[in-house]
């Protein structure tokens, strides 16, 4: 830390998001700091407690290029930075918080970018909300509502994707997979297994199962695993519990995606004590 920064304790361990000053601790990302302060940054592939991924790009923010610490005599930078200032794009979930960062988050322009990215996720897969049992509990769907998305905008890709119904209690419907890798990470980092992976390249990337047959039934996935429950869309579902909660009373019927996004945190170990 330079002597200059010490004279300026306000910027020492705070970042500014949309004009609001937010404290952070060393090692935190912009997302960590924002969520801890109750500031919602839209996200799909992020879950606190799992290694940040940075793939969905819903959490894109703009960071003003000039850092305060190198120009801290310039008081103008302490004020809200001008909208046309040079900035760089970053994923909030992977970008470390650095003292003095001036961050744009909840702006019409960024939300428009996020809406387009959400539309990309919709048209890439086969998301038929009316016939999907995850409807109302689906974060992708809730995100679309949150961002004011009214249609897919782009032509549908109509990709052929495999359904795996082999497991007695868990269903894998790749039509709905958005490649967020939450299940991949949850299985590795929390369940202590390694049930899922992504194979293939580009638009052919797809979720695969780590078993001899490639089928879920031959994997060691269990209903009690976090990986069986973490899917933000309807790609991994617990069988025979589809319609227990009626439409209209589901998570996102009752809550904004931002409320849920601020709440969801995984403790480093959530497995049962009797294991």
């Amino acid at each position: 830390m330079s002597a200059d920064t010490k004279q300026n304790p306000i910027t020492q361990n705070t970042i500014t998001i949309d004009g609001q000053e937010i404290p952070f601790q060393a090692g935190q990302t912009i997302m960590d700091a924002a969520l801890a302060a109750g500031v919602y940054i839209p996200h799909l592939c992020h879950r606190q407690g799992l290694t940040p991924h940075g793939s969905c790009k819903l959490c894109v923010v703009d960071i003003a290029s000039r850092s305060v610490s190198s120009h801290n005599s310039d008081r103008r930078l302490q004020a809200k930075f001008p909208a046309d200032a040079d900035s760089r794009s970053a994923s909030a979930c992977t970008m470390p918080a650095v003292a003095g960062q001036q961050i744009s988050n909840n702006t019409p322009a960024l939300n428009e970018v996020r809406k387009t990215i959400t539309q990309m996720l919709f048209i890439e897969g086969n998301h038929i909300c009316p016939s999907c049992e995850k409807s109302g509990d689906c974060t992708l769907q809730a995100m679309a509502y949150h961002l004011g998305m009214l249609d897919g905008h782009f032509p549908q890709f109509f990709q052929r994707r495999e359904v795996d119904a082999s497991h007695p209690t868990i269903m894998l419907d790749r039509d709905r997979c958005i490649l967020c890798e939450l299940c991949v990470r949850a299985s590795r980092e929390v369940d202590g297994k390694n049930v899922f992976a992504i194979a293939g390249r580009g638009i052919n990337a797809h979720l695969i199962v780590n078993s001899a047959s490639g089928k879920l039934v031959d994997s060691d996935l269990e209903t009690s695993d976090l990986a069986a429950h973490i899917c933000p869309v309807g790609a991994i579902l617990i069988k025979e519990h589809g319609y227990e909660v009626p439409i209209g009373q589901r998570t996102f019927d009752l809550h904004q995606v931002s409320e849920i996004g601020l709440e969801k945190t995984i403790l480093t170990k959530v497995r049962q004590p009797d294991e």
Binding site: S55, P96, A197, A199, R201, G202
Partner: protein, 595 residues
């Protein structure tokens, strides 16, 4: 063969390969060679032998273009699809021609298993005209008579050794030599100079020289080495990025062929400066034919005491270099994706920070530099930073080696001081009526003739070395469409903007080029291209839209002349949708078409 025998053979191939090199890509290549594909059983056996999850092995097999889960032919033919060395480079579709001769459709293996044929991204033969790889060996300067002869040789099952040897000849085509190309360094000469100076002085000399990475990003090489040297770690690594996949680039091919000693010298200097014991040369799969040559140079250097334990008698200075060959993935030219690939994973660019200088190969401090960068560093150690700095410009010291291809009289390798104008380069290579130049390959900048006085350098036109010339006769939209297909094919699929965006851009351009685009589609392209550029995870996505954005800005007429003057035209092409039905019913009469 019964299944017990198959399993036994699989296991012995795996064990043998693994004993030679523990890298997953190496083992998978051995299997692909032996069995012409990598079966489900092979995936499981590899996973068991290497103690990896079978999902990881499976994921890797599916990621790289040169691994296949279904059998390829005994002759596996891959045509480059680059605008300079591709199957359309001469204006005739040579791949379709061979397909007709061999009765095979691109992407397939013939029923008798004799031959398979497909297209692949640029194979770096752009100064040699249309080119292909047959079982990994390049054949260049293709024309229709050669296609006929290739078909005959394949049908006769003639071994590759008995094909005309001249077909496999790859020339250096060095047209203009500067600082680096004048001579290959004598083995050991700059290591001796370095040992005389010591590591700290060597490093400061590199920093003083102003050398910046030749891959295109232009980070200070000396600072990179310094950061790596200072980083704490159980081991330090030196990695040479010889994965030049940028279409139109082939300078590394020439450097690896004729300046390998300088390269290994540069890597060894770096190892001494940062304290590394192990280095890797990551060679693109398309250049596998150079492997025997490179291995022999390494073997000779070991014999001379220039690699191994106590190099040149210096106690404690131990370093060796292994070669890992890629398997067809442009993304592995991105340094963190390259490291992932070295580690036996899919080539997915890592989240940065942390950077490879602190967390690279196996999580340890790692220098990754381009072939040309290491060679420049070797020369600087020998001749001093002042020698380097007097050439070039203030911000871009030294020279740049260009791979020039496209519509010019003398495609080949040209080395210039930084600061040279495009006009000078075009004059030298005999490009008489250029309408546009693609500087730095598809990921670089497309400029028009009004900009030919711009200069090469990090502060103006940055380039990794590709320079493609397009004459007035070229259909620039076709070029931009080609590039869009390239990026969609090479996107790793990690982040949404690039994975979906590059495919949307490709589809949108196809619609316009096919004569179905409207003004609305053009505006859509502009909007989408800007998003892909600004919001993608890594350099691939951030540059994939450049040809479209540059094209729309500088050559709008190339797009506009294809537009339909309607407000809206659906993406869905009814007539095209009937194609499958026409094929099944063997009909192509007027009534089988709509419109």
């Amino acid at each position: 063969m019964d299944s017990a025998n198959t399993t036994g053979l699989l296991r012995s191939v795996i064990a043998e390969a693994y004993a030679e090199s523990p890298h997953l890509l190496y083992v998978l290549y051995a299997l692909q060679q032996q069995f012409l594909h990598i079966s489900e059983e092979a995936v499981r056996e590899v996973a068991a032998h290497l103690d990896l999850p079978s999902s990881q092995v499976d994921a890797v097999v599916e990621f790289y273009s040169f691994f296949h889960k279904t059998p390829r032919g005994r002759y596996d033919i891959l045509f480059s699809n680059c605008t300079s060395c591709g199957y359309m480079a001469g204006g005739v579709d040579l791949m379709a021609m061979l397909g007709r001769r061999l009765d095979i459709v691109a992407g397939n293996t013939r029923g008798d298993g004799l031959v398979s044929m497909d297209q692949t991204s640029c194979i770096g033969m752009c100064d040699h005209g249309a080119a292909l790889l047959v079982n990994g060996m390049p054949i260049t300067s293709l024309d229709d008579t050669m296609i006929d002869r290739i078909a005959a040789l394949v049908e006769a099952e003639t071994p590759l050794e008995d094909w005309p040897a001249g077909w496999f000849q790859v020339d250096d085509n060095i047209r203009v030599s500067g600082l680096l190309l004048k001579d290959d360094l004598l083995a050991g000469i700059c290591l001796r100079a370095m040992l005389a100076h010591g590591a700290a002085d060597t490093l400061s000399e590199i920093i003083q020289s102003g050398l910046r990475g030749r891959g295109g990003a232009g980070f200070s090489t000396g600072m990179k080495w310094q950061f790596c040297r200072e980083a704490q770690g159980a081991a330090h690594y030196v990695v040479c990025n010889a994965d030049e996949g940028e279409p139109g680039t082939f300078k590394d091919r020439v450097l690896l062929h004729s300046h390998a000693d300088s390269l290994f010298e540069g890597m060894t200097v770096c190892a001494f400066a940062v304290g590394a014991k192990q280095g890797y040369l990551y060679l693109r799969g398309e250049y596998r034919y150079l492997l025997p040559h490179l291995q022999s140079v390494l073997a000779r250097r070991r014999e001379l005491g220039l690699l191994g334990v106590d190099i040149l008698g210096q106690p404690g200075f131990s370093f060796d270099i292994g070669i890992v060959v890629g398997a067809g993935a442009y993304i592995c030219g991105e340094e963190s994706a390259l490291i992932e690939s070295l580690e036996g994973k899919r080539g997915i660019p890592r989240v940065r920070p942390p950077f490879p200088v602190t967390h690279g190969y196996l999580g340890q401090p790692t220098v990754v530099n381009n072939v040309e960068t290491f060679i420049a560093a070797a020369h600087i150690v020998l001749r001093g930073s002042a020698w380097f700095r007097v050439v070039g410009t203030e911000k871009s010291a030294g020279s740049k080696i260009l791979s020039i291809s496209g519509d010019c009289a003398a495609p080949g390798i040209y080395e210039y001081p930084f600061g040279v104008t495009i006009r000078q380069v075009l004059d030298d290579c005999g490009a008489k009526d250029a309408q546009a130049v693609q500087v730095g390959g598809p990921s670089g900048t497309l400029i028009d003739s009004a900009e030919f006085d711009r200069r090469l350098g990090f502060d103006d036109l940055s380039t990794g070395g590709s320079l493609m010339v397009f004459s007035q006769a070229r259909d620039l939209l076709a070029v931009i469409v080609n590039f869009a297909h390239f990026f969609a094919h090479e996107s790793c699929g990690f982040c949404t903007p690039c994975r979906v965006g590059t495919t949307l851009l490709k589809n949108g351009l196809d619609k316009i080029a096919g004569g179905h685009g409207t003004r609305y589609d053009l505006d859509e392209m502009q909007h989408l291209a800007a998003l892909v550029k600004c919001r993608s995870h890594c350099g691939l996505g951030q540059t994939a839209a450049n040809p479209i954005l540059d094209g729309l800005q500088r050559f709008p007429q190339a797009f506009e002349q294809r537009l339909v003057h309607r407000d809206f035209e659906p993406h869905f092409d009814l007539d095209a949708a009937l194609e499958e039905a026409r094929q099944i019913s063997h009909r192509d009469d007027a009534a089988a078409h709509i419109e």
